[in-house]
């Protein structure tokens, strides 16, 4: 990796998700790549959910940081391969847990649509980030943002967010 690319990574390392300020864009997998092209430097980002309102803010934050560091680079959006929660680092998942959000399970592989909607097979339990209990129940499949579901712990009685596998 050339030093100019390192400089870009370093300039953007501190940027966090506007909704979840404990994890960085890089840890979440939103900040995807920095590359030199014929037209100059490119910072590649990928949207999480199609309609995530934080994406505009994230792009603005990246532009502002690049400008502050005096680095001329373009921000480009790349859709494929589609962002997945599996790209989250273990450190990021631990930070989510400490922040009170249950981290996502690994996305199930090769599950057809027909099987996905079946309610029967009980998947691994979502662990309460407050007390560690597995005695939890979903209260709503959409929480404070599209990427999270709302759960309740039946032991400590605390509600909490679960970052859904995507």
């Amino acid at each position: 990796m050339s030093s100019v690319e390192d400089k870009v990574w370093a300039a953007l390392e501190h940027l966090t998700d506007p909704e979840i300020p404990v994890v960085t864009l890089r840890e979440l997998g939103i900040l995807r790549d920095v590359r030199e092209t014929a037209d100059g430097l490119e910072v590649v980002i990928t949207p999480t959910y199609s309609g995530c309102p934080a994406m505009g803010q994230i792009e603005d934050d990246i532009r502002a940081s690049l400008e502050e560091a005096g680095i001329p680079a373009r921000v480009v959006t790349q859709l494929a391969p589609a962002w997945t929660t599996d790209w989250m680092s273990e450190e990021a998942k631990e930070k989510l847990r400490a922040y009170g959000i249950a981290p996502p399970h690994t996305t199930p592989k090769d599950v057809s649509v027909v099987n996905f909607v079946r309610r029967a097979p009980k998947s691994e339990p979502v662990v309460c980030p407050q007390c560690g209990s597995t005695n939890t129940v979903v209260s709503s499949q959409f929480g404070s943002t599209a990427c999270k579901a709302l759960y309740k712990c039946l032991d400590c009685q605390e509600p909490f967010d679960y970052f859904k596998p995507y």
């Binding site: 949207p47 309609g51 027909v114 909607v117 309610r119 709503s140 499949q141 959409f142 943002t145 709302l150």
Partner: protein
């Protein structure tokens, strides 16, 4: 690279934006707070999907086409969405009758539509049109959760109280006939299949039937018979409801063209 016809992209985008706008009517009016938030999130996903598709369509049209022009400056007859997604959030009315919004109607519609689109996106994720395939792969992840959410509530309503069962069955009786439009390909859809970028929608019907059969059985709901009526929304022949919906959605952009936040 094979490219999907622009009209095909617009049909996908129009469905998403119109249903997104319909579902958003619950924002601040949801039956419970959690559902208010859930429907707003489903709407955000749908509008996000529509934006990606309009952006791709605008790039292919070229010239001064933009996503905003496609969403805000086309008239109802130019929209290619299914009639199903433009219908109001309540049952059929006669004359000047008015009705309150009915959550069962919203849920049953989301169930019928997301069951189709989950299968459709799954197929389009393998499209020879790589840009469309990228959008489909993202949309699939989101639509699965929409389907999960809607199916869950179809069962709760259907297998719930006498009143919730009655309303869920009434919503299904009202909306089901509109799904006939899914299975009657338009010239645009035929062209997309011929170009090798889409699957024949009729090949998805067995999977859709299986999804419905399972959920409706759990919900103790009965699938109504269809009697041959095929809506023609994707040909631009809409119900009166689309004009009112677009009138509201497009008014700001048309009153202040080119305005930015």
């Amino acid at each position: 690279m094979s490219k999907a016809p622009v009209d095909y992209l617009l049909q996908l985008a129009d469905n998403a934006v119109v249903l997104g706008q319909r579902n958003a009517e619950w924002c601040g009016h949801g039956p419970i707070l959690e559902e208010d938030i859930a429907l707003a999130n489903v709407s955000l996903d749908l509008i996000g999907q529509a934006r990606l598709l309009y952006q791709l369509a605008a790039a292919r049209i070229g010239g001064d086409a933009t996503e905003d022009k496609l969403a805000y400056f086309r008239d109802p007859a130019e929209f290619r969405n299914y009639t199903l997604v433009e219908l109001p959030n309540h049952g059929a009315l006669v004359g000047y009758a008015a009705a309150d919004m009915d959550y069962a109607t919203t849920i049953v519609r989301n169930f019928l539509y997301s069951a189709l689109m989950a299968l459709q996106w799954e197929a389009l994720a393998n499209s020879a049109d790589e840009e469309l395939a990228a959008i489909a792969a993202k949309s699939l992840k989101e639509t699965r959760y929409h389907l999960h959410h809607a199916a869950d509530w179809v069962v709760r309503f259907g297998d719930g109280t006498e009143e919730s069962h009655r309303r869920a069955q009434a919503a299904l009786d009202h909306l089901y006939r509109y799904t006939e439009e899914f299975w009657t390909p338009s010239a645009t859809e035929d062209a997309a299949v011929a170009a090798g970028v889409a699957v024949d929608v009729r090949s998805l019907r067995a999977g859709w039937d299986a999804l419905l059969a399972e959920t409706l059985a759990d919900a103790t709901l009965v699938r109504p018979e269809v009697r041959g009526y095929v809506p023609e929304g994707k040909h631009g022949l809409h119900s009166e409801h689309l004009s009112y919906l677009l009138g509201e959605m497009q008014s700001l952009a048309r009153a202040h063209p080119g305005a930015t936040w």
